[in-house]
Symmetry: C2
Subunit: 263 residues, 2 copies
DNA sequence: CTCTGAATTTCGTGC
DNA sequence: GCACGAAGTTCAGAG
């Protein structure tokens, strides 16, 4: 409040006021929220229609548009990226048109009653982190194979972090020098994960590798997937996410200590 | 406006006011929107943290919670279904806690500044349709195989609408009596679609069927998928979505006419 | 309950 | 740009 105007909230605006406020926000690329009795129509990769009802329309500065109904997590309509936004008053309604070029999609929102419009006048962006991703589990396996998978494995390419299309998560060797392919899943593994691993193992065998082992590493596995895995001669290793988290945390601390000693 | 209070909008509320308004809305299961300078912390299947910044928090009557930042289509944090919602004031902040039992997940949103809170007092739910789903394309193929796929096929089981796990979209026979399996994709088909079809065809062959044909029906196909498909001895049929839409529409009109004649 | 597959999936990354 | 794979995927249907 003392830090200057952060939000403009207009309650029950007239048609022309609503259009004016929306146009100003869209033109100056300020995020906005509109609530009201609206209909929505989408045409593009599919086609859909949302009947008149209370909707919440969110328009962000990057051009993403989200139309929420009163129920559920998923939006009724949306547009992840728009190339054109139009605001007009047509037949006593506020009409917003959101066009995306590629793929060609059009989202039209018509509001016969606008409850309020809120504009973020001086938006403050905050950072965002997510931890314990699949990639971090992969790193934990590469760094601590004994602790996570229960046997000593060597992964010469463990620094290759990004997964190329058609390549498994980890390629390495066991203590007897046999090639080992590890497929990592952060959640319970299904049949698709087994088939994926099988493809990589067969590809390696076709390239002339001998005695290739395939290991599926996941917190759990479905019965059907387990069955397919055993029929395919592959192995399953259960991983303990809490343990992995602990290993990574200690790894981080160690790294921090090393950095400290280097300084 | 003439129809009674539809929204309550409170701008820049004090801490205790905000808590009061939020509690009342949550308790009476009214949808609400809050905008402000907030942080969010999630712990459950993964763990994430959103730093202080402008957030839009949406809480719906069914318990779904969505936290949007200033960018992108996807929410920063969410909870599709909550079993507990808590609202308190802690250390000069509004703290909302959203708990989900299964899977066990906790989302905590702390707001150090509340720009506004809007409550939908008498929500109006609107209907929703989506058309031209994969299932409708499948129906069009079953009803008009010549028009969509360019040859006369017969699908004895075409009325089975729901796809069971491990079963292809359509089983039928061509004009020479050979079994035909059709896999339908509403969007450009990738390698995964070809592998799926191949599994179904091989399953049918293993069950003793002879001369089984596999047809992948989609608006387009990727190069890699086309290559895999040809190596696997499967067929591709390009489908024209506009044509399918037209066929279904005429089908609907016909049905309506029949209904009219029956009445 | 779990499993399976679709989604206007979106999103990132490699090519 | 396209393609492939992950996602706190969500969601709906079947067993």
């Amino acid at each position: 409040m003392g830090e200057g105007l952060r939000y403009t909230v207009v309650g029950s605006p007239r048609l022309d006021e609503a259009v004016e406020v929306l146009r100003r926000a869209v033109f100056s690329k300020k995020p906005l929220v509109l609530a009201g009795l609206c209909e929505a129509r989408y045409e593009g990769r599919a086609a859909s229609e949302a009947e008149a009802g209370d909707k919440l329309v969110i328009v962000k500065a990057d051009g993403s548009v989200i139309v929420h109904g009163l129920k559920g997590f998923k939006p009724l309509n949306w547009q992840p990226d728009t190339s054109y936004i139009g605001v007009e008053s047509v037949e006593g309604e506020v009409r917003m048109t959101f066009v995306r070029r590629r793929p060609r999609e059009v989202l039209e929102v018509r509001c016969r009653e606008v409850g309020f419009i809120a504009v973020f006048e001086s938006p403050v962006e905050g950072g965002y982190w997510m931890f314990l991703s699949e990639d971090e589990i992969r790193n934990a396996i590469a760094s601590f194979p004994r602790e996570v998978l229960g046997e000593d494995l060597v992964f010469p390419e463990k620094e290759r972090r990004l997964r190329e299309a058609g390549y498994a998560d980890l390629y390495g060797y066991d203590s007897e020098g046999r090639p080992v392919i590890v497929e990592v899943k952060r959640v319970k593994a299904g049949e698709e994960a087994v088939r994926q691993l099988l493809r990589y193992v067969e590809k390696a065998r076709n390239m002339g590798k001998r005695g290739v082992r395939g290991i599926l590493a996941a917190p759990d596995i479905s019965d059907a997937a387990r069955s397919l895995l055993e029929r395919s001669g592959l192995e399953f290793r259960r991983i303990d996410l809490k343990r992995v988290y602990g290993l990574l945390k200690s790894g981080r601390e160690r790294r921090t200590l090393e950095e400290f000693l280097e300084s």
